[in-house]
Symmetry: C2
Subunit: 452 residues, 2 copies
């Protein structure tokens, strides 16, 4: 196996693509109504993270304390999938950056460590967050552990009960985990009193987390991993991959990553996209989404809420509508109804590509990959595996030999029930009709778009 | 984090400690009765593995095909647990060799790959094995995948039902997995007809596997990971660690590993013990067992069956009696009633040390370790973590600064229910009384010991 990894590959700065964009992002708009005041929401975020979201500085220094923590698992290996190449009979090279080898099991730890650092530096004693399947909660628990913060996680109740392993690993890492709705908040208690213990979802978990943070001194809300600063922190992935590629003498022609909100995709793609923005490369960056949640491939570029609750500021982005619901899909991390404004703008300006695949095809590729390469991909990451295989097969048929790079963003050790369903022939694809999307888009807020 | 790993560290030869021992091992004796004839059992094992079990050759070449496969995850990292050192306030250095980062999640893959290679080279088309919690079955499934063999796993029925993830991961890697007792064999069908679907155990699973292998052309039984050749293959771990230590300029004073049958312990310890046998080192090698299954610390050095069924040859080893049963203990891989004859003889001759710890102390150390070092140890491996912490604390109290090396033999991602039990305060220690051991030892076969 060809692997490249060296501690010295960890960059000293994150890459801020805003510094290279030839256009401005449409401004955020205040929400129509809000459970919390705009002021309250702002106070939740350390100034350093606010600045990172709007800065035009190309290279933002990684604090030494964060870089030191990165050294616990970074640089991550850049691995050549030689057996996969051979089995496909392709001349393409397939490389992947493996982000699943850390304590949290996914790429999210790179921003969780940074966020915990900035909150601690700003005086927080305790972080509160909401989590769905638990990946973000796990990463944040580890981040808090690293910087001496307490961590409280409101985990969507159905996941709490169906995924006890995810709950336990957060507890191992010292987090206080409760199912949402929970009796710890007034809004949670209200639902429980009505007997609606299964009424929770990620938006409600975040609402409870916010209520908790506002009610407790020294506590602050951590929103999650879809913000601009999360993408910024995640560029450590692509920066490492670029350094490793240079050392190996390869130059990716195609960079592929799955798309939840954007931190995974932007994390690996932006440092390569920089070369394209500067005209020194024609690299293709391809985002991969489930056909059950096709925001970039079938959504609209409009103003929408970033969560399902309607309390957050409005952002212009590709969206299926904040009321869009995806059922029966295993890649929980790709279930988000929209795509971060940054990645959306790149798509709008034709700088990136987007594809969507049904989950049974994705799992077929994941099983093939794990048998050949010995790493079990998370369902989210499996989308990138599948897209890379499609590209390599196309190259074989066209007689070309591109260098393909994809991000294997997390391991699938906690997703074996999905694999079991696939292997037992019980997995179904979720069909999304145009009518579904049209109906969901009707709930989009009507706003007067500012002229850019 | 200080980490050392380099593909060139993979050795070209395994280390055979028989070549350096100043004494002979007591010979095996035929079983008193046998379900399968001695001849049948012998036919199951490729000649290469038979030879490896008795050879006095110090260095046994690793076939290029095996070494090539090792490159998929080896060399494994040698990591310094600096945060753990600091939190203990010790001057001791604590290093660990991490064997959990591969597709199987444990050290067992190093021998599974080698075994699959030798069986395939000897003409087998299909391997059949028995597995308890599933670690061995997972490793063998991957080994079979690597060399184009079919793989059939008889998994102890209670584990099959309680640990569906373990079952699924074997299926992902292409194995055909059935619960034992199973309708696929006459002996399994008999139990099922009697309504005894929960009567299975690892010995019965191996019995079914043997019956299956004998009944199907091209099929052979793979016994598992406790044989002398398994220890031999596992020395790749210690050999790498020795090379890595030399490059880092350190020299372990203490080498620690948990003890199931012996492949994990022997795998890391023997290459270091070689220096001691040659008089060039005074390294201490410490095996760690659960106090609920204290074969080396409280067992007797006698002839016994290597499994619970009484069909295998008798070997002289430290044993608690082949009828010894351990209940309520989470480290399934350390549940074996005895210790391989090779490790036993070393203990008998005073060349290694043995300690035993209760599981609640072991889990406390495992939680501490994962919070500080970001790797969740399997319960088996957690025994070594705990022993290393004890040694480091002793060094602190004594004002010494030894270099401690332990093997972190596998990850605990599939053992989170045990962690949950510990965190919920529901875990209990299993007390083994002298009377328990005395009663179990009464079942030992009476044999006329050959004079050595």
């Amino acid at each position: 196996m060809q692997v490249s990894s060296d501690e010295n590959d960890i960059p000293t700065h994150w890459y801020n693509i805003l510094g290279d964009l030839p256009f401005d992002l449409p401004p955020d708009l205040p929400p129509e109504s809000s459970a919390a005041s705009d002021e309250q929401l702002k106070l939740q975020l350390p100034l350093a993270l606010v600045r990172q979201s709007t800065s035009r500085e190309r290279n933002i220094p990684i604090p030494p304390e964060v870089r030191d923590r990165y050294r616990a698992w970074r640089s991550t290996p850049l691995i050549r999938a030689e057996r996969l190449e051979r089995s496909l009979g392709t001349q393409a090279q397939i490389w992947f950056k493996y982000e699943g080898g850390n304590a949290s099991g996914s790429h999210k730890l790179s921003t969780a460590i940074a966020q915990a650092y900035y909150y601690a530096a700003a005086g927080a004693k305790r972080l509160v967050t909401g989590t769905g399947a638990g990946q973000w909660g796990t990463a944040l628990a580890i981040g808090c552990q690293a910087f001496g913060l307490e961590c409280k996680v409101y985990m969507v109740g159905t996941s709490f009960r169906q995924k006890p392993y995810r709950k336990t690993i957060m507890q191992v890492y010292g987090a206080d985990v409760v199912p949402s709705p929970s009796p710890d908040t007034a809004s949670g208690a209200r639902l429980l009193n009505e007997g609606r213990m299964d009424a929770g979802n990620i938006a409600f978990a975040v609402t409870e987390a916010l209520e908790d943070a506002l009610a407790n001194d020294g506590s602050q809300l951590s929103v999650g991993s879809g913000e601009s600063y999360s993408i910024l922190h995640s560029t450590v992935i692509g920066l490492e991959a670029r350094t490793q590629s240079e050392r190996l003498g390869i130059r990716p022609d195609v960079v592929i990553a799955s798309l939840g909100a954007g931190s995974n995709f932007g994390g690996i793609a932006f440092p390569f996209l920089q070369d394209r923005l500067r005209g020194t490369s024609e690299v293709r960056c391809i985002s991969v989404e489930p056909s059950a949640c096709p925001k970039l491939t079938r959504g609209v570029y409009r103003y929408d809420y970033t969560d399902g609750s309607g309390i957050t500021p409005l952002q212009k982005m590709y969206t299926l509508g904040h009321r869009f619901r995806t059922a029966g899909m295993h890649a929980g991390g790709l279930r988000y109804h929209a795509c971060s404004k940054l990645v959306s703008a790149l798509r709008h300006h034709g700088l990136i590509e987007a594809v969507a695949y049904p989950q049974t095809d994705v799992f077929a590729s994941a099983v093939l990959f794990s048998r050949l390469e010995g790493i079990l991909p998370a369902p989210e990451s499996a989308h990138a595996v599948h897209a890379a295989i499609q590209e390599a097969a196309r190259a074989r048929d066209a007689g070309t030999a591109p260098v393909i790079l994809f991000c294997l963003s997390g391991h699938g050790m906690f997703d074996l029930s999905a694999y079991a369903q696939y292997l037992d022939g019980q997995m179904e694809d979720v069909e999304v009709t145009d009518e579904d999307i049209r109906a969901s888009l009707e709930a989009l807020p009507t706003v007067l778009e500012p002229t850019a």
